[in-house]
């Protein structure tokens, strides 16, 4: 199989995400805005912040995945691009995976890169920064994969946003648990391995499900 279709679908999706969301400004603004509200909602005592901060960022990441993915496959369905992709000999599952990765790299990856900054703001001990970045990276990727399945299933639903959340959130639970533990315990603990395993599991299972759902949406 040729690599060009996969490469092109990645480029197209990144450009779509970039142009639709004012580039990196939107995700960075989203995460920073969420972070800014936390001290005002929950108190600014340093020990409270370092307890609550990572959890808030997990929620922000989960919300970012849901909000971003709502439009991804729906737009493809409405502008007719989905028809063209489904007819390609390149497996639609791979194209869907590529698109999901592209949107994660625009809307999920910024949180990973900004983690040291948020760590400072939330009085998180510096030695947990690296595990936190790894956890947000893997966890965010898993959120986007399961969110992508939910989004592909509801692509033909006119106002699919709430439906996507209802379908995807139960599937986010293991990642949230293992990811939250990884931020606390670091790489030494088995939680990181479980997080890695659940990400690999999602990488294996989610793409065929997205492919089947997109074929259905195009039908």
């Amino acid at each position: 199989m040729r690599a060009a279709p996969i490469r092109r679908s990645f480029v197209q999706a990144v450009m779509e995400a970039w142009s639709g969301g004012a580039g990196l400004l939107l995700p960075v603004g989203f995460f920073s805005g969420t972070a800014m509200l936390v001290p005002f909602a929950l108190g600014s005592a340093p020990d409270v912040l370092s307890d609550i901060g990572p959890g808030m960022l997990w929620l922000a990441l989960a919300l970012a995945s849901l909000v971003t993915l709502e439009r991804v496959f729906q737009a493809d369905l409405h502008d007719g691009a989905l028809d063209l992709w489904v007819q390609e000999p390149a497996a639609i599952s791979l194209v869907a995976l590529t698109k999901t990765l592209a949107h994660w790299s625009v809307s999920g990856l910024p949180l990973v890169l900004l983690t040291p900054l948020y760590g400072l703001m939330f009085q998180v001990p510096p030695e947990t920064t690296l595990p936190a970045m790894a956890a947000f990276g893997l966890g965010g990727l898993t959120f986007f994969l399961w969110g992508g399945v939910a989004a592909a299933l509801s692509a033909s639903v006119a106002r699919g946003g709430l439906l996507i959340a209802l379908l995807a959130l139960p599937l986010y639970l293991p990642t949230l648990i293992f990811g939250g533990l990884t931020v606390k315990t670091g790489f030494e603990d088995s939680a990181f391995l479980f997080l890695l395993a659940s990400t690999l599991f999602a990488l294996g299972v989610a793409p065929p499900a997205m492919g089947a759902a997109l074929r259905l949406a195009a039908d």
């Binding site: 092109r8 007719g80 007819q87």
Partner: protein, 185 residues
């Protein structure tokens, strides 16, 4: 391309059943029928987008698919759209020549969200020129085109059939082209 005993159901309503369809080289078949008769559904089954509820479709070679929503992304310009699919298909067609033929030289770098319906339709039709494929499946291809565009597309379709290609198109009776055969649903 052949369809054997095709059937389609929407909800509980049977659109068509036991439908046999043959398309030979050089043929231009016009699909006719009232709104809701299943023209688009039949085209989508021939294209492999819809699973027939009954029967099967045999295809020889690849086809081009032009639907009423053109397949353009809002952020793409006509040039980017054509370049994108040329690269996906590994086609070496000259994008500038294609844009000239489509008379899209001037708006070639304007995002599709700002183009008129006719310009969007021309951009989508440009995909037909990127790669030679024996079968074209067109859903109301003349929609949104001006008189000059309609004449150009008519010639393009006739030429394709003259070279041994085949076309199935959902067409209004007013379309400026004479089909070889009509197929009424």
């Amino acid at each position: 391309m052949q369809g054997h005993g095709l059937g389609a159901v929407r909800g509980e309503r049977i659109l068509f059943s036991g439908l046999n369809f043959t398309l030979g080289a050089g043929e231009l078949v016009a699909l006719r029928g009232v709104n809701g008769a299943g023209k688009t559904t039949l085209l989508r089954q021939l294209a492999g987008l819809s699973q027939p509820q009954a029967g099967r479709v045999d295809r020889a070679g690849r086809h081009h698919w032009i639907s009423h929503n053109n397949g353009l992304k809002a952020h793409e310009t006509p040039r980017r759209h054509l370049m994108h699919w040329a690269r996906v298909w590994g086609s070496s067609a000259g994008i500038d020549e294609v844009l000239t033929m489509l008379r899209l030289k001037r708006p070639a770098d304007v995002p599709c969200s700002l183009l008129s319906a006719g310009q969007k339709r021309r951009t989508a039709l440009g995909r037909l020129l990127l790669e030679v494929r024996p079968v074209w499946l067109l859903d109301e291809p003349f929609n949104a085109l001006d008189a000059e565009g309609q004449a150009w597309l008519g010639t393009l379709m006739t030429d394709h059939c003259a070279r041994g290609g085949a076309i199935v198109a959902a067409l209004h009776a007013a379309a400026p082209i004479t089909p070889v055969r009509e197929f009424t649903l």
